[in-house]
Symmetry: C2
Subunit: 390 residues, 2 copies
């Protein structure tokens, strides 16, 4: 379809943007990237950035500056998109469905990409090796380990199953590239000691699985761990070769609630316009509802519930205690936190605000582009497209 208005905006003042739309602060983004790069370099491991949050080649160019450097994706759509841009070492980090192998093979051939997959069962390993034999493509495979009961993966102690999967892959024509795990339960923590312990559980789970494979005479060159919280709280990554993280690039209110960053580090926000008031209730109505913010309410289970988001002025500074407690599809209700003594800001019809999201992955997915800004400067510097879908 022709979208005559949205298509005409290239760069210019933020105040000229049609709302709702997504802003990305490139200065905060670069700072977040540098921070984790430096941290992991100090721990002697490689970072394999997860591109599921950004889904943008422009962000990938900053996060993965070398085309041959490793990266992670969450869909085969992302794999194809980033491979088409020349990225090489891509890990599709969702357990493989056998019906997807032909598409994996097509991406590998078409873009000469070292796209690898993950799995956690004998059935998958058999399907993969059968596919490798049929296609002649030696697929690189990671075995997924469940370090903390979060979702998928071979359980700790299931050494027999682990070795059986490894042997089928290694002897059946695939490349057993290593093991990988994700400490997803770390998202439920907010205490530095507990986060460091979660990182150690993640490390130990992956390393002991790698050792079990090696003890059985199987190769395991790569030991991959990662989540944004554990990547920021790990003290020791002995035996680990790479760390995966994604949301650290933009960060969000959930990460701030965990303690990974401050609210001032959040690079992503939704620009919204005031469209009304319910003055007797202390409500300001904006044109960003859950369609623009996403339905993610990750802070609802944290110590500080931020509603659908924290409301900032156009320069990105939060208004004291102003959040979005309620949202409909295209309406957001702004109000002071319950019990706040702050004054409701005098936001008038047509005024614009920036709203920090609960969860950058979910909010980003509601949009098809980033409007790139630099800190409190009033101009949009660039438009960076992003993808969605599978």
């Amino acid at each position: 379809m022709s979208d005559s208005f949205a298509a005409t905006f290239k760069t210019g003042p933020i105040s000229q943007l049609l709302t709702p739309c997504l802003l990305l602060d490139e200065i905060k983004l670069r700072r977040n990237l540098d921070r984790l790069d430096e941290r992991l370099a100090g721990l002697g491991v490689t970072l394999r950035p997860h591109l599921k949050t950004a889904k943008s080649v422009d962000v990938a160019r900053l996060a993965v500056p070398h085309r041959k450097a490793p990266a992670t994706v969450s869909t085969l759509m992302e794999a194809e998109y980033f491979a088409a841009e020349g990225m090489h070492d891509l890990l599709y980090a969702v357990g493989i469905a056998p019906a997807k192998l032909d598409r994996v093979g097509a991406i590998r051939r078409r873009y000469k990409a070292a796209l690898s997959i993950i799995l956690d069962s004998v059935e998958q390993a058999e399907a993969v090796t059968e596919w490798c034999r049929r296609s002649g493509d030696k697929l690189p495979v990671f075995i997924e380990i469940d370090c903390d009961g979060h979702r998928s993966g071979v359980q700790p102690g299931e050494t027999e199953r682990l070795v059986a999967i490894g042997r089928i892959l290694h002897e059946g024509g695939a490349i057993l590239r290593g093991v990988m795990t994700h400490a997803g339960e770390s998202y439920n923590l907010n205490d530095p000691k507990a986060l460091t312990a979660a990182a150690e559980t993640e490390r130990a789970g992956a390393v002991s699985a790698a050792e079990a494979l090696r003890a059985a005479g199987l190769p395991c060159p790569v030991v991959s761990v990662g989540s944004t919280p554990t990547a920021h709280f790990a003290r020791n990554l002995e035996g680990v070769t790479e760390v995966r993280a994604g949301v650290y690039m933009f960060s969000d209110l959930v990460q701030a609630g965990i303690g990974v960053c401050g609210v001032e580090d959040i690079a992503l926000s939704v620009l919204a316009t005031v469209i009304g008031h319910q003055r007797s209730k202390g409500w300001i109505i904006v044109d960003a509802g859950w369609m623009a913010m996403s339905r993610d309410r990750g802070t609802a289970s944290q110590t500080v519930d931020q509603g659908y988001g924290v409301v900032c002025d156009l320069a990105g500074t939060p208004y004291p205690d102003l959040i979005m407690p309620g949202a409909n599809q295209e309406h957001g209700v702004l109000a002071l936190r319950p019990g706040s003594n702050a004054a409701l800001p005098d936001l008038k019809l047509g005024d614009k605000v920036r709203i920090l999201p609960n969860h950058a992955c979910a909010t980003g997915a509601q949009h098809d582009r980033y409007h790139v800004v630099h800190g409190a400067e009033a101009d949009v510097k660039a438009i960076w497209p992003r993808i969605n879908g599978w």
Copy 2:
């Protein structure tokens, strides 16, 4: 970008679809459309379908068969998309931001569309009439009424404000087309008597506002009310000229929880593939996570919490007590409801399931197309694209 695989699929067996993806049962869709059409015809009012759920011209052709018939949209992107397809009488049902008036005017001119807007303040009415005078375009305007404290709108009893807005519009060069209200609080109900009462509150609020305008010598030809629950439970719509509803087309688990429909009436589902198991926990892992289902957990506050969705076989029949209690970005965890005595179905790696969503508007928005199916038949009959964004 080139998406070589997804783009090649046109029609064929459901089993050949890449997952996750969205299925739409055209038979249920048509039945849902007929049901509300007949109900409202019996009550003597016009239906102005809300296209915010479907966002698809193919669905609009069924829901609004006559190009001149009224419809509702939630974004100006939708307004432009449907106007470009020849739809004429479109109501943009989110309070207008003055900065959007130029785009409204461009859509009206370019497509000769009778696009109308809503507002609830003197400030907006002044901005609109100033714009009308400047542009020479007599914009049709509805005044929004707050019938149940849900979000925007002139409050009941604020007759002075209501008449002031009406007078500014009528005397300032806009067309005062009428009043509109939305009983959004009806989503929190599940008792037929309470729902019928909510419909009456909605009717009475709109009609009394219309009478107040007329008593002040102002025109109010259209009296527009609507929400999917009140549209299905209203007994008397005296004084109302049209009803708006959107989610009724597809329906969803929230509507079933309210009592608007049965689970068997839900036309929308997400097709997913089994990618693993955690057998000791009774978990089946599928490749549809919250990215495919949306983060909407509308049933969490209802009598029956359906998790992220109700799991059905490929023919669309629910497995007893099988729901999706947990979801990550691209992983869904299927398990029996707590306390269930049902047996966990023997779903194997690669098996496909259909998952009914909490909220059709939110789940639809995670996708760019519908794969159209007919009941339990195994073939995809068509691909219907849909839009997102603003």
